[in-house]
Symmetry: C2
Subunit: 217 residues, 2 copies
């Protein structure tokens, strides 16, 4: 399955400033978000299913893949485009076997050992987590920093996104360090204008990618 | 799939008096537990998977079905014998479609409307919940009482278990009211001797079932 990691939105209902999640996501997609991960840590399965179902219906119109965080059953139930798992979720080989080869599976990587293991697997992308310390996810490992992104993207067989504390200010550095895309939460979810926020981020990402390519030439 | 609902253990790690869950379950099965439901509400997917995997390995030796609460992905991942869902979990038709017809699916029923709906579906059993108020599950509806069990079992197309506050003292009444089995948590998990606790409960259940049959003759 083809997918574009460049601007990867991770949802967080508690950060949407009271606006319905689906509205914020739609604005973000109109602004240039290329993938959406639905992450829900504090709701029951019925609510999670309903929300995933509604998002799937929305995103299919924009041809933007829906990725479900952690819950493979929800991904199956709504025929999502993929699953994102962390190191505390189902083991990757189990998830791949249940989901099949046609779905996207992303894996969060916090250290080199996990990176080397991911290189043995056919994961579709890795999330470098966290690039910076962040308040939107509290169970994270030590921040990798820009130097970590540089090192890890060189070692990785798989495309990668940087996640954790990503915003307009540090976007250039993360892409310049070699990440294929940026995963953002509050840098879009909590902005008064999610469309413009996505547009500004996507603009920086594309400009930096062009510069990266020129440097390589 | 054949299964025996008579003594149905629902796990709760926090009530096992510090003993490993798997040891308590094994003792309970030796004492006469006929089905085990793994319920985990406060652990990550990796832990849930590991625990389910270990229980499956244990229970297959005793030919006792393993039922997973809520999490269809965990049920698939360990090839559990079935899934138990409540009204706040995945919708029953979605769960059945994903799990197939060879697996057991049980559904918790809290009121008549839900009972009538369950009668339209091919659920394998229903859980009458709660029979009595209980401290081991806090998100429950109004207690059905013995009168409710009588009424609901008459109306149900499906076999049923009573759950919520079930213990040695009220076991006779619930089975006499028409339930096919008893779902217990602390009446086994929190006993100093889970094997004896299960044996005593199973003995009451069988005696009462024999009496029920004689009354019908």
């Amino acid at each position: 399955m083809n997918f574009d990691l460049s601007l990867y939105l991770v949802t967080d209902r508690s950060l949407s400033l009271g606006r319905p999640l689906i509205d914020v996501v739609e604005q973000a997609v109109k602004g240039g978000v290329t993938m959406v991960q639905l992450r829900e840590k504090n709701c029951n399965s019925k609510e999670f299913y309903k929300e995933a179902y509604a998002l799937k219906k929305l995103l299919v119109q924009y041809k933007v893949p829906l990725i479900i965080n952690d819950r493979l059953d929800i991904a199956l139930a709504v025929d999502a485009d993929g699953l994102h798992i962390g190191q505390q979720d189902l083991p990757y080989p189990v998830a791949r076997q249940l989901l099949g080869n046609d779905k996207i599976i992303g894996l969060s990587i916090e250290n080199k050992e996990q990176l080397h293991q991911a290189n043995q697997w056919d994961v579709d992308y890795i999330g470098l987590s966290p690039v910076f310390d962040t308040s939107t996810k509290t169970d994270t490992a030590k921040a990798l920093g820009i130097q970590g992104v540089k090192e890890f993207t060189k070692l990785s067989k798989h495309p990668s996104i940087g996640i954790g504390g990503v915003n307009l200010t540090n976007a250039v550095d993360i892409i310049h360090a070699g990440a294929n895309g940026l995963a953002v939460v509050s840098a879009i979810m909590s902005q008064s204008n999610p469309l413009n926020a996505a547009r500004d981020l996507q603009s920086i990402i594309q400009t930096t990618k062009r510069k990266n390519n020129n440097e390589k030439v």
